[in-house]
Structures are given as C-alpha cells and as structure tokens.
Amino acid sequence: MRRFDLAPDYGRLAGALRDPASLERLSASEFSRAMDAAQDARLLGWFVAQIDTGRIPQHAPPWLGDRVATARTLAAEYERSVRWEIDRLQRAFLGSGVTWVLLKGAGYVAAGLEPGRGRRVADIDILVPEDDLPRTEALLHGAGWEFGELDPYDTRYYREWMHEIPPMVHRERRSVVDVHHAILPRTSRLKPSSARLFERAVPAGAELRVLAPAHMVLHGAAHLFHDGEIAGAIRDVVDLDQLLRRFGREESFWPDLAREAAALGLTRPAYYALRYAREWFGTPVPDAVIEESARWAPPAPLRRLMDALVRRTIPGGGSMSQVAAYTLYVRSHWLRMPPLQVARHLARKSLRRYRPTP
C-alpha cells in the first residue's frame, strides 16, 4: 500500500548512524524519509550535523532543500529553547548556594558536547543534594515552576520510591524540570552514591555543573540499561557512542570509567553500554577495557537473553519486537522495585490507561 512508502524509514536511519556517508547515496525521497525517522527518534540535530558536512544527495530537488531548511531551523530552535531554560535555571539558583548539576540532554547542551547539538529536550533533568530538595522546590517555585495536580498514589510513588520529586511545570512557558536527588530510584537494587557525583562534577557556566565524563557515560548507561525502557532508545545509544568517542580521546578516561563503574556499583550497565555501542556503531574501545569489562558481564544465559531482547528492539528488529520491548519494560521495573511492588505498580498503570483522562 502506498502509505507505507511514506512512513519514516528507521532502517535507513540506522544504516546512516553506522555509515553516515550512506546518506549521500540515497535518493531525495529516501533521504527525506530517513530525516523523518531522525525527527521522530529525536536525532534531528545529529542528522542536520551530517547535512552540514555535505552528507546529502547530489542534485537535490528544491523541495528537499526546503525540507532541509526546515530541519535546520527546528534543530536550532530545539537547542535555543534548552539554552534558554538553562539560563532561567541559572537565574533561579544564582547566589542560593545550592549545588545543582544538569543531567542528560540539557547537560550535553550546557557542556557543548556533540549529543547536545540541535537537541530536543522534553524535560530538563537536574540533580541536587537530597537535603536541599525543599530549598530547590522553593527556588524553582519562585521562578515560576509549579507541581501539577497529583493524586495520593502519584505523590507516594515519587516521594517514597523514586529518585526524583514530581515534575515541575513552568506556569508560562510549560517547560518541565525533573528534580533528582539520585540517578536511580530509592527502591532500585543499585544505589550509586550521589555524593560521589557531586564531588567530581565539573563547571559548565555560572554556578552550573555537569557530571564528570565517566559519570556522564555511567548515568547514560544506568538510565538506558537499568532504569529506562530500552525500546526506542536508539537516541540513548547514539549518545553513549558519541560520549565514548569524545571522552575516549583522553587516556585518563578509560581507567576513570572502570574505577567509577566499580565505585558506583554500575559495572553491569557499563558492560551493556560498551557492548551495544560497539555492536551497533563500532565505538572504539581499547582492548584492555574490553577485557576488564568482561568481568562485569552477566552469566552467559542471561547475557544471551539480553542480547536477543535488545537486538529485537532496535529498528527493523522484526515481528517479536513488541514482545521484546514489553519484556524489557517489565525488566526495568523489576530492577527498580521489589517484586510485589512491580506487580502492583504495573497493574495500576495498565488499568489507568483504560480510564478516561480528564
């Protein structure tokens, strides 16, 4: 049927992520479908960066030029709006003495790292010491961020179990800030030390910090392979690949990564990060690090299961990909909560989907 021809082409996007030069060999139509996929996967900034280095079909028709101009403008707008929110946060915290660290997307933008280019950030994630949560809430409230309406279950979910407080939404700009006091939930089996993250955080502007390079990679890995939903997470693996390539140029990075993975108890997610980044994108990792990371691997049967699940959720993963995605989704909850709590929470969430939203 015709309409499937018009669908975003995730296969070609995945191909381009492995081999960016392949973009030049696409027809204008194939190229624009790959660009639609990049937009959908929040990789438009990466895609535009490729165009800027000349990776675009030759003899592009005028309509493709207009689509590219639109993509370039959107990517610039995404990044500009993140920078504006960061600026507003700096103003909110200025002189307060609260140590706050920008995490993930907004952190990459603030640090000028490649994954921050043209980045679309839905929620700004920040990390503050747990003792400073009340003050942080007050400072953000004073700057216009408010809690939405929450039922008692939601409040309990966040306050007792999670590593973040309920999202705060700006009353005028509708921007969302997620305030964390740890990088994994309270109920999670892994409990990386937030104090260690603060100690090593690096400046990225006035009274503004981002995680140290090794911690940035480990947080990405923990988020992807321990806490989050792996399905549709191609963006997160691209982040890891780009961070590893950039930080890996410094020799001191690799010993740091190994030491910090052990110190934070995040060796298993680190193992998966190195394994899948190498497998998907051929991320260069020194042999010695590969050897060391083998000790972080899960037992062979579990590793094979994980390989099978993760490979099925990548673009073009086949008909089993939905089942695999749900299995990984349940797994992420299994890891973040005790078993009975998982069962109750997921039951509640799936029931809620059938309730009319107000």
Binding site: R2, A28, D40, W63, A69, A76, E77, R80
Partner: protein, 253 residues
Amino acid sequence: MARADDPGHFDIAIVSSGGVRRVWRRQANLVINGARPFLPLPADIAGAMFEWAMNWCVGNRALAWVSVHAAVVERHGRALILSAESGAGKSTLCAALALAGWRLFSDEFALVDPSTLTVAPLPRPVSLKEASIEVIGRRAPDAVFSREGIDIEHHRFVHMRPPSDSVARAAQTAAPRWIVFPRYVAGRAPTTIAPLFKAHALMRLVDQSFNYNNLGSSGFTTVADLVRRSECYVLEYGDLDDALAALDSMTAV
C-alpha cells in the same frame, strides 16, 4: 504540494483508525510525513481536516520561509500583502483583487524567503464565508465555486477555484511593495487608507506570523527588512468597490 507518489514538501494522508472502535464510530487520523501528531477525529470531517493539515504544515513546518497570516496578490511584478486576523475581510478583498486582474498568490499565507525577501505563491482555493459568498458570486458569474458547506464554527463557506494563470505561475515569486492591514467595518464611509509607522507594521506582522518563534533572529531580521522595504498602510472600509478603488490608486504606477 505534490501528488502522493511523488514526494514533495509534505506528505499528508488521512487514514481510518483500525480496531473495534471503527464498528460504531469511524475515525480519521492525520498522517503528516509518516507521523501522527494529532488525536483522531470523526471521519465525517475528514475534508476539513485535510485543509487544516495543509495549513498546519505551511504554518508550522515550512520553516524555509517566514509565514504570515495574510492574503497576497501581485501585479506588474510587485506583491501586495494584506495581513489581518480572520474576519477582517482579507479573503474577500483577495478574491475581488484576483478577479480584477491581480495574480493570486494566497488568501491565507504570505511566505517570505529570508534570503531574498521575495514572497512565494501558494495558489489554493480561496475560502469565502457567509455574505462574502454572494458578494463574490455576483462579481464572478464565471468563477468556479465548491458546494456550500458548514464549518466547525457553524459558518457557511465555499471554496473558489484559483485562476488558472495563478496556478500555472505558482513557481514565480515576487518582491513585496505594499503591506496593508485591512479592516472591514460594516457601514463605514468613507473608506480610508492611511500610512502606518513601520515599527507598528513590524509588530503587527510578528503578531500575525505563524512561525516567528521558530525562526529565532532570522525571523526578526526578515520581518524588519520586509517593512523597511515596503510601504505600510491601514485600510478601513465598509464597501468593497471603494476599497478596491483605494488600493488601485495607492498601487498606481
């Protein structure tokens, strides 16, 4: 715009929702460049959805241009931009000018290219509402009109086919010379056309722009350069012929 089997600026499709729901209530989904950014709506308004989708795309996803809510016509290579909110008589004026020898660019969008400051045509059917249907119908017995419909705000509307010359020359851009902010005031006499401060014209265009916020500094410099190069006026009229005469003398060579 282009046919579905030949890719173009946008690929828009309307597809029916699957699942059990369709048995008692058919729903239509908008698919724009392969994504479904909106919730499905009842299938019987699929036609209006299609027009709305085209407008959404041009307003929000045609960022190669600054898009302004305006009618645009052209004569002797010089474009006239008529910018106003809905209900100010923009489409009626535009249809009347198109029937009086001006080339129709659009009754809805002024698409300004930031690098050349020219306006790109988008000749689509002109949408006429309520009394305008009869006003324009009397002037153009030969023009082709759609069947009358009722829009979502319960207004009668028809679409007028754009002149074939406008469609044939859809790729020919033009430089704007005049920017007019029209306002229809029932019973108003006489018709007045008065110069407008350029700073005010700038603010009004920004206010009527769909994508100004997307474009960053290029949006500002484009609109600023546009008003700097154009003559800017406010037109208040109660009679269509008077308004046409006023525009005619204003734009006389």
